[in-house]
Amino acid sequence: MKKIFVISWYFPPINSSEGLVTFKLLKNSKYEYDVYTQKNSIDWAYNNTENKLISNNINTIFSECVSTEEWIKEGIKYFDKNRDKYDIVMTRSMPPESHEIGLAIKRKYNDIIWIASYGDPISNNPYNKIYYKTSPYKVLGNGLLDYKLSYVLSPKRILKNIYWNYRDKKYKKTQTRYYKDIVLNENIIKYADKLIMNNKYESEYIMRDFRQFNYKVCILYHSYDEEFYDYSLKKSTEKIVISYVGHCDEIRTPKSFILAVDRLNKKIKDLSEKLEINFYGNIDNKDKVLIMDCELYDIIKIHKPITYLESLNVMVKSDWLLLIDANLSNFLEKNIFFAAKIADYIGSKKNIFAITMADGASAEILRNLNQVISSFSVDDIYMQLMKIINKKDAKLKNVDIEEYNAINISKKFDKLIKEQIRSNYEKQ
């Protein structure tokens, strides 16, 4: 069989979740791949030092381009030159530009099989909706009795509203991209032969206006690869170690968690001798200040970002792994995001403490694995931490985690490819 052409802006050695997810999938597959990527832009990644992540069945083609526009053009040009080498193209977002290459190829060569693999939703991403806040000074049409007439007509309110809208340039800038992404998303769903999504909630969200194309969807979970872990590693302290690995920001914030630790610190004497909490990766300045204000620096430690393989070692050396999701309850009934780190956490075979929405991907996956789930309430988190400190939840049941093993996920992926080839052959 011919090689499969994969297009992904991020791929190892760049240390980015998107690329790592694809790498684990391809590495364990029985097919051979040419991956068109780049290594000049690390905007959404920490660094490009994952040099150990290589596999015999993967050949990487690096573009020297810096901008995505040039990368798209070069990608299409490369495919035109090498058309005969491939029957299958797989594109992986984010960013969504890789799908633009896939779309251009599919439009030009209709007999090519195009598999589009989604990271986050491309359009209407609820995570971004938080940025699209309505002015708090705007008088809304709903809520009939909520305003006084004097407030509605107040020049102060009107000026504040104008200023707020002026300042919200970020929102206006994203508008062009916003509509472009809606069109791109629609085209991907229409033209791709297969759509890969990482959980059913994401699929329901993305496909809600395209139910007639539901047959194209295949759910492939994020996975862990046992080969990357060193299970012999041990922690070097008697304390209970809780670690968070990954990116935090204003939306995916550890604020409630920090406040819960603060409450715990007031309740339990010498907490710093019993508990160690490590954050590896970006953390918002406001949250750093909160840690300082609460004087928790003996307990909560913030470390610089580390490589993927180092992060797996950190996981193995921890007692508990912390997951913090964005609270999107204002926009969604169910969380549609399955963070790739959950699969890596699962692979480390350590306990997971998740702060997430009660419904949706993360909660369902972790609940099925009998892990600890808390809402975003400080009181709830505090209660769970108390149980952890008092070792009431220290031994979780042995559960089957094989459905997140990269070997099994890749088998599913290989089956999908095989079926698609057969289906194409039958059509011809």
Partner: protein, 345 residues
């Protein structure tokens, strides 16, 4: 060992929340023995019953599991009350929980108290931002003081009353009152707040923040859409409370019931005035609210007049046959109605 507190945990499809609720109640192993936790599974179709049974295995002396056909929130409390043997009775909804720092102390204190009603504070836990809003009664209500309900000045409570989340009531009192809540009906917590009042003679207010009320889920009945969907239940409960009020003797406690009814009337009209759903529904709802408005005017004229003195907005809409409220739910009507209600008052 005699149980100090019976906790009723109404349970319906709450597999995502039940563990947290029970963990919090049973957190302190020393006070567990004093508790009788009656989990009433109301025909759940998820794993709620299995979770409850697992807890029962772990705490056989504290947990009773009742599995029954679906009958609504009220039916679960009716069942739990029948079985209750504890000195006091409290309802904790399975998506809520208790403050583990204070709950065991509270249970220990209940052993020493003998008032018919024990009031505590509670906190609302907002789902959408993780914030906590603490509820406390008016400062005029003193902690640790025993109040005689027959002489109590209910004005002290302001707009508040004895909520399910703040009340712990003697089981004996509840049984004497023959408390029976409506089945398959929403908003029966209002019945729970009102019906036993004639049998409660005294109460004490304790400085404990016990109950954690998880609020803001999109599927909750107290969201505006929930109110619209269950508006007929709201009306049904309101009419029952009006009947109860009518049959009450003229005594001090009648002020308490009146206060609750006035607030429920306010909520009821707001449900109808705030809607801007589809045209067909708006038409139906306008017909309903007109009918209800006439019913209240005819049957409870004094109460209606009192209510209109508080809420002139409703008076305005009643006079205009709810045309503006239902037709234009926007800024224009808000401004116009405010202008006219001010003129009117």
């Amino acid at each position: 060992m005699e149980k100090v507190l019976t906790i009723a945990v109404p349970t319906y499809n709450v597999e995502k929340y039940l563990t947290r609720c029970l963990d919090s109640i049973l957190y302190d192993e020393l006070s567990n023995e004093k508790l009788e936790v009656i989990i009433v599974n109301d025909g759940s179709t998820d794993n709620s019953l299995e979770i409850a049974r697992n807890f029962q295995k772990k705490y056989p002396n504290s947990i009773v599991v009742v599995n029954k056909e679906n009958g609504g929130h009220g039916s679960t409390i009716n069942v739990a009350l029948k079985l209750a043997t504890g000195k006091y009775f409290k309802v904790i909804d399975s998506d809520d929980w208790v403050n583990i720092d204070e709950f065991s102390n509270f249970v220990n204190l209940l052993e020493k108290i003998d008032t018919d009603l024990v009031l505590t504070n509670y906190s609302r836990e907002l789902v959408y931002n993780g914030e906590q809003i603490k509820f406390e009664y008016s400062k005029e209500l003193k902690y640790n003081k025993i109040y005689d309900l027959n002489k109590f000045d209910f004005k002290i409570l302001g707009l508040d009353y004895f909520f399910m989340a703040t009340s712990t009531i003697k089981t004996k009192v509840l049984k004497e009152s023959n408390l029976h809540l409506d089945e398959k009906t929403f908003y029966v917590d209002m019945e729970y707040d009102v019906y036993p009042i004639n049998y409660i003679n005294n109460f004490i207010y304790l400085d404990y923040d016990i109950y954690r009320y998880f609020i803001g889920r999109l599927d909750q009945s107290i969201n505006i859409n929930g109110y619209i969907n269950h508006r007929h239940d709201h009306e049904k409960v309101l009419k029952k409370l009006l009947q109860f009020y009518k049959e009450m003797d003229e005594n001090n406690k009648k002020n308490y019931v009146e206060n609750i009814i006035l607030q429920m009337l306010n909520s009821h009209y707001i449900i109808y005035c705030k809607t801007n759903v589809n045209k067909k529904l708006v038409k139906d709802m306008r017909r309903e609210i007109l009918k209800f408005d006439n019913y209240i005017k005819e049957k409870y004229n004094n109460l209606y007049n009192k209510f209109c003195n508080i809420n002139s907005y409703v008076l305005f809409h009643s006079k205009t046959k709810f045309y503006f409220a239902m037709k234009f739910n926007n800024l224009f009507t808000r401004v116009i109605t405010r202008f006219f209600t001010r003129m009117g008052s």
